[in-house]
């Protein structure tokens, strides 16, 4: 495989169910060592895109590839998947699942599995149907990571987990990527993507609205916070410029979201005598909400 070619590739992927188009013309390339967070509201097409990538669904048009080739059974020697619904066997115990993984995955590392079971505090003798939703998610993660995959696809990986274990999951993804692995994960929680991902893809209604490097995305977009000694003066004239996305007022502070900052807004505010002007990076949540609402 060419080192520059993407590990995960969606090319003009469209998936239609009868009259409903779940994914429309999705093109997304994820490079080796990258963690890509797939964000989007319910019904955005995230799970459908992942299922098509893994061969559970056949594309209506377009193509998907892992390591430059369509998915085949051999792909799963180095690709692990954690589904949104656990997919585990309720009648089997935790230990039997680990044994099943050992028998069915050539790259299974028993020591790693034991270590991860300990991290999540999973009781080996417990039947899966008696585990909580979070514990099932944790077991699915243990099985996925015990195979030391080069490609990790996770659909809502922290679903049902408490905040401590959510953090553990994010750290495990970061570890996997730092060892050269490639991670694609979907989430509803913008904070998780912001913490773990280096790239973000935002989908809505089956369409990819944005795909970008997280740091440069946050770096481009700024928030200018201007505080005034008393009531906020009428700034309409000053803020009627193209770079301004949104203006919010709270007390005697005004927050102005701008696409990029070249000092123009601060100059325009200066005549109104603010007591302070602060320029901060926008967080991913603001960007996500703007993108989703802008394109709707």
């Amino acid at each position: 495989m060419n080192p520059a070619s993407p590990v995960i590739a969606f090319d003009n992927l469209t998936k239609r169910f009868r009259n409903f188009e779940a994914v429309h013309d999705l093109t997304l390339h994820i490079q080796a060592g990258s963690i890509c967070g797939l964000l989007g509201p319910n019904g955005a097409g995230k799970t459908t895109a992942m299922k098509t990538l893994l061969g559970f669904l056949r594309p209506t048009s377009g193509s998907v590839a892992v390591d430059g080739a369509p998915v085949s059974p051999q792909t799963f020697e180095s690709l692990s998947y954690v589904p949104e619904t656990d997919g585990l066997f309720g009648e089997l115990t935790v230990a039997q699942h680990v044994e099943l993984n050992r028998r069915s995955q050539p790259r299974h590392d028993q020591q790693r599995a034991e270590e991860l079971l300990g991290v999540f505090g999973l009781d080996r003798r417990k039947r899966v149907r008696k585990l909580s939703k979070g514990q099932k998610t944790a077991l699915a993660l243990v099985l996925a990571l015990a195979s030391k995959p080069r490609v990790l696809v996770l659909d809502e990986p922290s679903s049902g987990l408490d905040p401590v274990f959510q953090r553990v999951v994010l750290d495990l993804m970061i570890d996997a990527a730092s060892e050269g692995g490639t991670v694609l994960f979907s989430s509803h929680q913008v904070g998780q993507v912001e913490r773990a991902a280096d790239h973000v893809a935002i989908m809505r209604g089956g369409r990819l609205l944005l795909y970008s490097d997280v740091d440069s995305l946050k770096g481009q977009e700024k928030i200018i916070e201007a505080t005034f000694a008393s009531a906020i003066p009428d700034l309409n004239g000053a803020l009627r410029v193209e770079v301004v996305r949104r203006v919010e007022q709270a007390g005697n502070m005004v927050r102005i979201s701008v696409k990029h900052d070249d000092g123009e807004i601060a100059q325009r505010l200066a005549p109104y005598n603010p007591t302070s002007i602060r320029i901060v990076d926008r967080n991913l949540e603001d960007i996500f909400l703007d993108v989703v609402s802008e394109k709707s």
């Binding site: 299922k51 893994l54 669904l57 619904t85 997919g87 009648e91």
Partner: protein
């Protein structure tokens, strides 16, 4: 992937054997120590081995019903099963092979228990005749065909059809009944054609008396042996169809 199906089949076989042992023990107890008011006269009689085989085949078909729809049963586990470095055909065939071996084991257990019970005083005599070979084939063909037909009928479905293994009994018996009676044209021909794929029609072909009377079902084409071959052929084709359907399914 045989491990998960082995665990499932083993647990079903365990309960099947436990119930069979219990029934055999109770039967043996009452024959050996009849209640004082009971008047049982049995100085030993000839029991055709063909009957034992038919009996074992019938109970093996209950095990087949319990195991059937195995590919459909695992719908909710597809995210796990289909992300193994093993082809889907191989996973499906592994499941089918494990189930078939379990059905044969159930058949052997029931046949063995029957022989054991028959050997207990007053010492019935098990009679082997020239039909033993064909009856063995027919008694195995019926549960295997039942398993295959249910598997093929359910493997494609995205929804759970776990009850199919049980529902095939009343539905199959009803179809066989309709194929046997004189319905007007074209209903008679339609039910006759459907009945070819109805496992229940193949059990109806075994008629046992003091010695087994080996006759083919009147609602099926061919003679007894031809029907047995047909049952095996339908089993094999059904398993191929089930595997293909399962492989092509979208989840």
């Amino acid at each position: 992937m045989y491990y998960v199906e082995v665990l499932f089949a083993r647990s079903r076989l365990f309960w099947f054997t436990a119930v069979a042992l219990l029934v055999a023990a109770v039967f043996t107890y009452f024959v050996t120590f009849p209640p004082p008011h009971a008047h049982i006269v049995n100085n030993g009689q000839d029991v055709p081995f063909d009957g034992v085989l038919g009996f074992a085949g019938f109970f093996a078909s209950i095990m087949a019903s319990m195991l059937a729809a195995t590919l459909n049963r695992d719908q909710s586990h597809l995210p796990y099963l289909w992300t193994r470095p093993t082809s889907r055909e191989r996973i499906a065939l592994t499941y089918i092979v494990v189930d078939v071996l379990t059905i044969i084991a159930a058949f052997a257990i029931i046949a063995g228990l029957c022989l054991l019970v028959l050997a207990i005083p007053p010492q019935n005599r098990t009679v082997y005749d020239e039909h033993t070979g064909v009856m063995l084939a027919r008694s195995l063909a019926f549960p295997l065909m039942l398993y295959g037909v249910v598997e093929a009928a359910t493997s494609w479905a995205p929804m759970r059809l776990a009850a199919a293994g049980g529902l095939i009994w009343p539905i199959g018996l009803a179809i066989d009944f309709l194929a046997e009676i004189n319905l007007p044209f074209p209903l008679a021909q339609i039910f006759y054609a459907i009945n070819i794929f109805n496992p229940m029609a193949y059990i109806a072909g075994m008629q046992m008396g003091g010695h087994a009377t080996i006759t083919g079902s009147t609602a099926l084409p061919f003679d007894f042996n031809g029907q047995t071959y047909l049952a095996f052929a339908i089993f094999v084709v059904s398993c191929i169809i089930a595997t293909y359907n399962w492989k092509r399914m979208q989840a």
